[in-house]
Amino acid sequence: MRPLAQCQALMAVVLASAAAVVSTSAPAQDRLGERAAMIETIKLHARSAPSAVEGQGVDPAVLEAMGRVPRHLFVPEEQRGAAYQDRPLPIGYGQTISQPFIVALMTDLINVGPGDAVLEIGTGSGYQAAVLSPLAAKVYSIEIIPELGERAAARLAELRFDNVEVRVGDGYYGWPALAPFDGIVVTAAASHIPPPLVEQLAKGGRMVVPVGGPFATQFLMLVEKRRDGSITTRQLLPVAFVPLRGGRAQ
């Protein structure tokens, strides 16, 4: 970590704990500067990877939502200093909280509208659900690991993300009682996409699946169910990269 960032982080921690003493009700006001810097980084990265945002940059509503979520409260205590760096962080149980840039891309890709219901498979820290919360009417999230799920549910409730509902269980079958969903985010790695999830995707809906290892997203898979019910998938590289040197794109 650069000394400046370290100082900032340290100050932020000091301020955060001071703020915690003064008032526990406004965590969203903590570390605003870092959050703004994080948003700028996301915009910068998005400009250099136009295909992943379909040529239009990240939707300002998504960025605004991310600017409001206190990410540092979604990571373990020892990781808080690094919470606003544009990188994934370990949250235990072999799981990570995704890199902010990837969260922005995924949220952007499912095109959530104000009246939409969104299903998330793999709550993890709860950060993705929190980002979706102001964008959608309702967010349903399923987590396989009870400790993570319970912790995320408590955190989301405490921070008043009231339209998020977290359930601990098997994500394979989705949440049939509440289907269909306008958007589905599958953050838990799987060898294949569970058929019930494809089934529960609304016509015109979008599903996004980050594919890769725990600290390295290879590509984002976008599953679209057209109005006629047909399915197409697209694989989007989160970065502008042409594998051929000296080719057209350089």
Binding site: P90, G92, S191, P195, R234, P238
Partner: protein, 814 residues
């Protein structure tokens, strides 16, 4: 002197080498395979540092020899267990290196911890040499026989006990050596022997298993760790052998449903499965089977099912049976006969016996035969009789995605391997290989290039007519046909792809309008790559591609290595912008290990010598002498490491190769150094330099012969039983190692006669060179292959005597 006096030397030597081999096994479990070369280098660093230490503290230590030996052996025993227990508790996370270079600090810390037992073990041996200057030959004999027994013995022990338990036995062996060494002590002999013997027993029997257990400290990002985090998931069976740790897990609450490459058109849920993890990561599923093929209909909708669309009632060879998914698919698809090959006998026992009922006894059907063999070895002797060879997906997705296996020699995806497979096919037969899809593509293009080259080597003029490539969103299946695909075949491939929303990236007659329809990529790199690799611009395309996709060969069997220095600056820039998955970290971790080794070996070996240079008699290190020992250190390990890598193919597993080649080189190089004086007397007319010159000429001749002959020797003898292959490997190593054992002691004698103060430097420089060479050889092999590394070693050997000869003149004129 009674032999009993030297028994402790043999014991500690055995324990030290056993520890080295064992650490590789332990680290494969808690981390990944790429630590193997780091451990060889750590061991050599321990030896080197102890050489410096003994040179500096010789007098006081030799005076109290029995006590010093005993203490050092006991410290070996303590640190063998404690350093591993400490290292596995460090929070090192190889996958996080891309984001947090501070992780490399933990890597350095484990390096520093793990070096301790090797330092103490080697100190015992160094002391023995110093204590018995007149008995060098006998000390050497005990040392080397002990080392050989240790390296091979640990492999045997690993068949009997789990690695964590084996570690306690190795530590106990150190204490046993310490207890025996007390016999020379003047006072408190019985007390010391008794308490050390007790310590040996305590470590072997009563040490809490949790102290060295690997389970709790396995990387939390390995598949097994993650599977066990799921509620109610539990280990139902665990088997361990030198070939790996197999862990069978059941997960009743959240079933596994492992089915990579499954089409989005599938609606069926896979039946109950048991997951079998190998070293905690690579997973294979055992699927519950009632005998009703309809329950596994989903398998028809995986990319690996493609070949069954163009083959009727095929005779199938499955290379890598694992839990039997591909056997199930073959049975469901109406295969006439299934030969399934599995290299791990414990996997066979699990699938055929322990869980026979669970898998519906598929391995006991009359038309299914499960063979214990290595894939290449089986293919080499099978004869032309199969319609289909299935090579299923056995490595873990996350390991593939993180590139942590790039150091892994892999002899199943080389040009020679594909030719072997094509040779056992009937004229209309097909090889089907399934891999994970990585974007941007790397392994698939390398595989395509490899298949193209194999077909061309078999005399096929238009390889494109023999190849078909389809992809789902996460897997790719390549078909390599012995005869050109017919129009009907191509129509069947198209039909299969359309039904399952799979994309065809290559098939004969395909055009740009046919590709990239269902799973759309930014650009259809696979189709473009296939076109380029089949056309005249192949060399140019391979050269311009930012990942290394040149075909893997037996000479350079690094199928999983895609790293190119040229692309590094761009990839480093992109790594935090969403491009983290494009950097293959296995390679970079190895480079980092090399840098750390340079620093640590300079600090631990050379710096103390330099600081105490006055005490050493103000010897100014003579450049030419220094270069001589540097060249020897590099060359010896280059050949040894290249042989280890090369013998993986012959012996079937990296751990066998390490143990056998290490034991062979130790024992026969030791014999060579014992014979060195006689060799000089016989052929060198008493001149050490002449003796060395003749020895290196023999080394060059033998190494050159092996370069040419080993491939055909291996091909002919691959099918022999393991014990015979181990004996043959030792026989092959023997003559070369005997001569490689000569230049070092002869050089020492030559230099020592002129400037005795230089001797510690000779040891030190040689030690440093060995530490670096172990890692450097592995890195070089990825670039210039086995042949290149051995050639470099030969050049170094041939240049070495000139360095000594020149310096003799220099000394004489002084």
């Amino acid at each position: 002197m009674r032999a009993g006096r030297l028994l402790p030397v043999g014991l500690i030597s055995a324990a030290t080498l056993a520890h080295e081999v064992l650490l590789m096994r332990l680290f494969s479990i808690i981390q990944w395979h790429q630590f193997a070369y780091m451990i060889i280098s750590i061991a050599l660093l321990g030896f080197g540092a102890s050489g410096t230490f003994v040179a500096l503290a010789r007098r006081p230590l030799v005076k109290r020899y029995p006590a010093a030996f005993t203490a050092s052996a006991a410290l070996f025993g303590i640190t063998a267990v404690a350093s591993f227990a400490g290292a596995e508790r460090l929070p090192f996370n190889a996958l996080e290196v891309v984001w947090n270079p501070g992780q490399l600090g933990w890597l350095a810390a484990s390096y520093a911890l793990l070096v301790l037992p090797f330092f103490f073990g080697a100190t015992c041996i160094g002391l023995a040499f110093s204590r018995h200057p007149g008995q060098i030959g006998r000390v050497y004999a005990f040392d080397l026989v002990g080392a050989g027994v240790g390296a091979l013995g640990i492999v045997g022990l690993l068949f009997l006990v789990f690695p964590a338990a084996a570690l306690r036995f190795v530590a106990a062996l150190g204490f046993a050596a310490a207890a025996l060494a007390t016999t020379g002590m003047a006072r408190h002999r019985r007390l010391a022997a008794g308490s050390l013997g007790l310590a040996a027993a305590v470590i072997a029997v009563w040490l809490p298993p949790s102290f060295t257990a690997t389970g709790p400290h396995m990387s939390q990002y390995k598949g097994l760790s993650m599977a066990l985090d799921v509620p109610n998931a539990r280990v139902v069976e665990e088997r361990s052998s030198p070939l790996g740790l197999l862990t069978v897990v059941e997960s009743p609450s959240v079933p596994f449903r492992y089915a990579p490459g499954l089409s989005l058109a599938n609606t069926q849920e896979p039946p109950t499965q048991l997951a079998v993890f190998s070293d905690g990561d690579s997973v294979t599923a055992m699927t519950a089977y009632s005998g009703d093929p309809a329950t596994v209909a989903y398998l028809d909708r995986t990319t690996a099912a493609l070949p069954y669309r163009i083959l009727a009632r095929p005779r199938v060879l499955v290379l890598g049976a694992g839990g039997g998914e591909q056997v199930l698919l073959a049975l469901r698809s109406g295969a006439d006969l299934v030969d399934a090959v599995e290299v791990n006998p414990q996997m066979i026992d699990l699938a055929r016996n322990r869980f026979a009922n669970f898998v519906g006894g598929i391995f006991s059907r009359p038309n299914v035969h499960l063979h214990l063999a290595e894939a290449r070895a089986f293919a080499a002797t099978a004869g032309e009789r199969y319609d289909l060879i299935q090579m299923p997906l056995l490595d873990s997705f996350s390991a593939a995605a993180a590139g942590v296996q790039s150091m892994h020699e892999n002899y199943t995806y080389t040009v020679e391997a594909l030719r072997d497979y094509l040779a056992v096919l009937k004229p209309d037969g097909v090889v089907a290989i399934t891999r994970w899809l990585r974007v941007p593509p790397r392994d698939i293009l390398k595989l395509f290039a490899t298949a193209t080259e194999a077909l061309e080597a078999d005399g096929v003029a238009q390889p494109g007519r023999h190849l078909a490539l389809i992809r789902s969103w996460n897997t790719v299946t390549l078909l390599v046909a012995k005869s050109p695909f017919t129009g009907e075949d191509v129509a069947a491939i198209r039909g299969f792809a359309d039904e399952n929303f799979f994309d065809i990236s290559w098939a004969p007659g395909i055009s740009a309008s046919d590709v990239n329809r269902y799973n759309q990529l930014d650009r259809e790199y696979l189709y473009e790559g296939a076109l380029a690799l089949l056309g005249p611009e192949r060399a140019d395309f391979t050269e311009r591609y930012k990942f290394d996709i040149a075909p893997a060969t037996d000479n350079r069997p690094y199928f999983f290595d895609f790293f190119r220095w040229r692309a590094l600056p761009e990839l480093l820039t992109l790594r935090t912008q969403g491009g983290a998955a494009m950097l293959d970290w296995g390679y970079l971790i190895l480079v980092t290990t090399l840098v750390q080794a340079v620093i640590l070996s300079a600090v631990l070996i050379l710096l103390p010598l330099w600081l105490r240079r006055r005490a050493l008699g103000r010897a100014i290190p003579r450049l030419r002498f220094g270069l001589y020992f540097l060249a020897l250190g590099l060359a010896f390990l280059f050949i040894e490491i290249a042989f280890i890598q090369r013998f993986v193919l012959f012996l079937g597993h990296p751990l066998y190769a390490v143990a056998v080649v290490l034991a062979g080189f130790l024992a026969f190089a030791g014999l060579g150094s014992a014979l060195a004086a006689r060799w000089v007397a016989a052929v060198g007319c008493g001149s050490a330099v002449r003796g060395i010159t003749l020895a290196v000429v023999v080394i060059a001749f033998l190494a050159g012969t092996y370069l040419l002959a080993l491939p055909s020797i291996f091909e002919r003898l691959l099918a022999l039983p393991d014990a015979a292959k181990i004996a043959i490997a030792l026989l092959l190593i023997a003559p070369l190692a005997v001569f490689m054992g000569m230049p070092f002691p002869l050089g020492l004698g030559h230099v020592g006669a002129r400037s005795e103060e230089f001797l510690p430097w000779a040891w030190g420089i040689n030690g440093c060179a060995s530490v670096l060479s172990a890692i450097l050889a592995a890195l070089l092999a990825m670039h210039i292959g086995f042949t290149g590394v051995v050639t470099m070693a030969v050049i170094l050997y041939l240049a070495a005597p000139a360095l000594l000869a020149g310096s003799r003149d220099h000394v004489a004129t002084r």
